[in-house]
C-alpha cells in the first residue's frame, strides 16, 4: 500500500508519453479520429460523385411504386398495382424469416436424430447415418439446391395429371396444393381453448416438479400436456360449432388455382438448406454426446435409472453445453445461406429486393446497405437468443 501511494504521489513527474495507461488512451483516440475521418471522407465523396454522375440517391425510392410481381408472399396480400419498393422489402424480409425458421426447425430435428443414430450400436443404422452426414456435408450447397429444384422437383408430373393425395392434396410441377382453412365467426373459442391449455400446462409442470421434489412421485407431464393442448381447442371448436371452412384448389385452364400452396422454389430451398445443415448438426450432436464420460451412464444404470431417462435427464443436458455454441453458428449459416435462393427463383430478400428492386430503382448502395443491415440484425438476434439459452443450460456451480 505504502509503495503504491508513493508511486501515485510521484506520478506527476512521469511524462504523459511514458505512462503506459495514458499512452494507450492516446493511441486509441488517434485511431478513433482517423477512422471517423476516413468514414466521413468516403461517405462525403461517394455522395458527391453520385450527384456528379446524375445517379439519384437517398431512401425515397422505398415509397415509389415497384410495379412488378413477387413469386411468393404468404403473409401479406401483395398487389403489383399498389406495391412500393418498401413493400417488396417487407415481403423479402418475411420470406427470408420463414425460410430460416422452417429450415432451422427441420435441420435441428433431423440433425439430432441423425446424430443419435450415428452412435447406434446397430451397424446398418449407424452406417446409413454416416453416409447421410458425409454426402450432405461434402457437396456444395448451391449444387444441392439445383439438384432438388431441377432434378427432383422439376420432374414432377405436369399440371394436368397431378398426383392426388386423398383428393385433398395435389402435387404437380407447380407445387403442392391443399385446402386453405378459413376461420369463420366464433373461431376465437378455439384460440381461447388453446390459451387456457397453455396456461394449464405451465401450472401442471410447476406443480409436478414440486410434487416430485417433495414426494419423489413422478407425473406424466408430457402426455397430460399433449392431451390438454389437443382437447381444449377441440372442445372450444365443438361449442362454437366447428367454425372453420376450407377453400379447395380448383382446376382451371392453366392448372390448379386457389387453396393453399407450397411452391417448388420454396420447398427446394427449405429441403436443400435443412438437409445440408442437418449433416453438420448431426456431427455436432454426436461430438456433444461423446464428450460426456461413459461413467455418467454407468453410474446412472448402477442406481437403477432407466436408459431413456438416463439419456433425457443425464446425458443430453450435459451434452447440450457442448452442442449449443457450435449449433448457433449453424443456425446463422442456414439463415445467410438462404440467399442462394436467387439461383432457383426463390423470392427472398436478396432475390427480390437486392435483385429486382435494385435493378428497377438502380440504387445499389442504399439497397445493399439495407440488405446487409437486415442480415446483421437477424444474425445478432439469433446469436443473442442462443447465448441466452446457452447461459440457461450452463453448468450452475454451487
Amino acid at each position: 500500500m505504502a509503495a503504491s501511494s508513493e508511486a501515485q504521489s510521484s506520478a506527476p513527474s512521469v511524462s504523459l508519453w511514458n505512462d503506459p495507461k495514458k499512452r494507450a488512451l492516446i493511441y486509441q483516440a488517434i485511431v478513433m479520429i482517423a477512422l471517423i475521418i476516413v468514414a466521413a471522407y468516403i461517405i462525403n465523396n461517394t455522395a458527391a460523385n453520385l450527384e456528379k454522375r446524375g445517379i439519384a440517391s437517398g431512401f425515397g425510392f422505398l415509397q415509389s411504386p415497384a410495379g412488378f410481381d413477387v413469386g411468393m408472399s404468404p403473409f401479406l396480400k401483395y398487389d403489383a398495382a399498389k406495391a412500393t419498393h418498401g413493400t417488396v422489402l417487407t415481403v423479402g424480409i418475411l420470406n427470408t424469416l420463414l425460410v430460416a425458421f422452417t429450415g432451422i426447425v427441420i435441420a435441428t430435428v433431423l440433425g439430432f436424430i441423425m446424430g443419435v443414430l450415428r452412435l447406434s450400436s446397430n451397424w446398418l443404422v449407424s452406417k446409413l447415418a454416416y453416409l447421410y452426414v458425409e454426402i450432405t456435408r461434402n457437396i456444395p450447397l448451391l449444387l444441392q439446391l439445383l439438384f432438388w429444384y431441377f432434378a427432383v422437383l422439376g420432374t414432377l408430373p405436369s399440371k394436368r395429371d397431378s398426383i392426388s393425395i386423398f383428393d385433398l392434396f395435389f402435387l404437380n410441377i407447380e407445387g403442392l396444393f391443399g385446402p386453405l382453412p378459413i376461420p369463420q365467426d366464433g373461431f376465437w373459442m378455439v384460440g381461447m381453448g388453446l390459451i387456457v391449455a397453455i396456461v394449464a400446462v405451465i401450472f401442471i409442470k410447476k406443480w409436478a416438479q414440486k410434487r416430485q421434489d417433495e414426494t419423489g412421485q413422478p407425473f406424466p407431464v408430457f402426455w397430460v400436456s399433449l392431451a390438454l393442448l389437443i382437447a381444449l381447442p377441440l372442445i372450444g371448436a365443438a361449442i362454437a360449432g366447428f367454425p372453420l371452412e376450407f377453400e379447395h384448389p380448383q382446376q382451371n385452364r392453366f392448372g390448379l388455382r386457389g387453396g393453399m400452396i407450397i411452391l417448388p422454389e420454396f420447398a427446394a430451398l427449405v429441403l436443400g438448406l435443412s438437409l445440408y445443415t442437418a449433416g453438420f448438426i448431426a456431427e455436432i450432436v454426436r461430438a456433444g454426446i461423446q464428450a460426456i464420460s461413459r461413467g455418467q451412464t454407468e453410474a446412472a444404470y448402477a442406481l437403477g435409472v432407466k436408459p431413456g431417462i438416463t439419456m433425457r435427464l443425464i446425458i443430453i443436458p450435459q451434452a447440450l453445453r457442448v452442442i449449443v455454441p457450435p449449433l448457433t453458428s449453424q443456425y446463422l449459416n442456414l439463415t445467410k445461406n438462404s440467399s442462394l435462393a436467387v439461383a432457383i427463383g426463390g423470392a427472398e430478400i436478396v432475390a427480390i429486393f437486392a435483385g429486382t428492386s435494385l435493378n428497377q430503382a438502380g440504387q445499389a448502395i442504399e439497397i445493399i446497405a439495407i440488405t446487409m443491415a437486415f442480415y446483421l440484425t437477424v444474425s445478432l438476434l439469433i446469436s443473442m437468443f442462443m447465448n441466452w439459452y446457452n447461459r440457461k443450460i450452463a453448468l450452475v456451480e454451487r
Binding site: R53, D69, R253, F254, A343, G345, A354
Partner: protein, 340 residues
Amino acid sequence: MVLKSILTAAAAATAALTIAGAANAGILDDVKKKGHLQCGVNTGLTGFSAPNDKGKWEGFDVDFCRAMSAAIFGDADKVKYTPLTSKERFTALQSGEIDVLARNTTWTFTRDVNLGLEFIGNNYVDGQGFMIRKDLGVKSAKELDGASVCIQTGTTTELNLADFFRSNNMKFKSVVFEKADEIRAAYDAGRCDVYTTDRSGLAAQRSLLKKPDDHVVLPEVVSKEPLGPVVRHGQSEWGDVARWTLFALIVAEELGVTSANVDQMKSSKNPEVLRLLGVEGKMGEQLGVRQDWAYQIVKSVGNYGEIYERHVGVNTPLKLERGLNAQWTKGGLLYAPPFR
C-alpha cells in the same frame, strides 16, 4: 450473382472515390490508352450475344461493340466482353466496370434520367410478346387469366407484364429467374405456362427449346421496347463516338455501302458516301477517332443490314423479319441523321 452485385456496388463506391480527381479525363482517351474496349453484353441470348463453339462472342449486340472497336482502333477484335445479367448491367456501367453496354436494353425515362445513363439510340426496335404451348389452345394474350408466367428479373418486361394483366383485369403468377437459360429450363419443364420477354428474345429462346414447333408466340405486342446501346451520363464525347458508330452502320446500309463493295465505294460520286468513308472532310478527326473510322466499321463488321441478316434475319434460326427495323425508305423506323 449476388456476390457480383455486391461487388459491383462496392466497385461503384470505390470508383466514385477514385474518379473524384480525374472526372474530366474522358473515356475515349482511357480506352485508347488501355488499348481495348470493355463491352457489357448478355450472358447468352442466341443471335444477340452468345459465345460460339470456339468460345468467341458473336451476335447482333456483339457486332456493335466490334464496330466501335473498328472505329477507334481500326481493328474489330480489340474488345473484351463482360457478360452481364439484366440485373447487373446498370451497376456495371455506373461503376465504370464497362465502357459501353450493348445488351438488348430498353430505353425508358427512369433509366435515362434517374440511373445516370445515356441511351445513344436504337439498334433494335422490339415489343414484348408471349410464348405458350400450342396444346393449351390459347389464341390471344387476353385469354391468359390465371396463367403462371416465367420472366427474367430486372427487366422492363417484368413491369409491362404487371401493367398488361392489370389493365385487362386478369391475374397471373410470376416465376422469376435471373438468367435466360434458367427460365428456358423452367418453361421447358412446364413450371410455367407462359414465357414472356421481347419478341426477338422469344424467337431466340424458342429456337433452343426441346421441341420449338410445340410452342407459339401469341400475336399481341404489349409494349414498345426500343433497345439500344448505353453509355454513362455526362460523357458527351464518348457518347458521340457510340452514337455515330450506330448511325454509320445505318447510313452505310441506306447508301448501299457493304463490306463487299466498300473499297470501290471510296471512289463513289456520292459526296455523302465520300464523307462517310473519310475520303472527304474531317469527320473522324472531329469525332476523336480514326479518319477512316466508318470505312473500318463497314469493312470489318458490315453495315446494319448485313449484321442483321447474319445474326437474327430470316436465314438464321431466329427467322426475324426486318419489320420495324427496316430502313425508313422501306417502311421501317431506321432513320439516321445525315453525314454532313
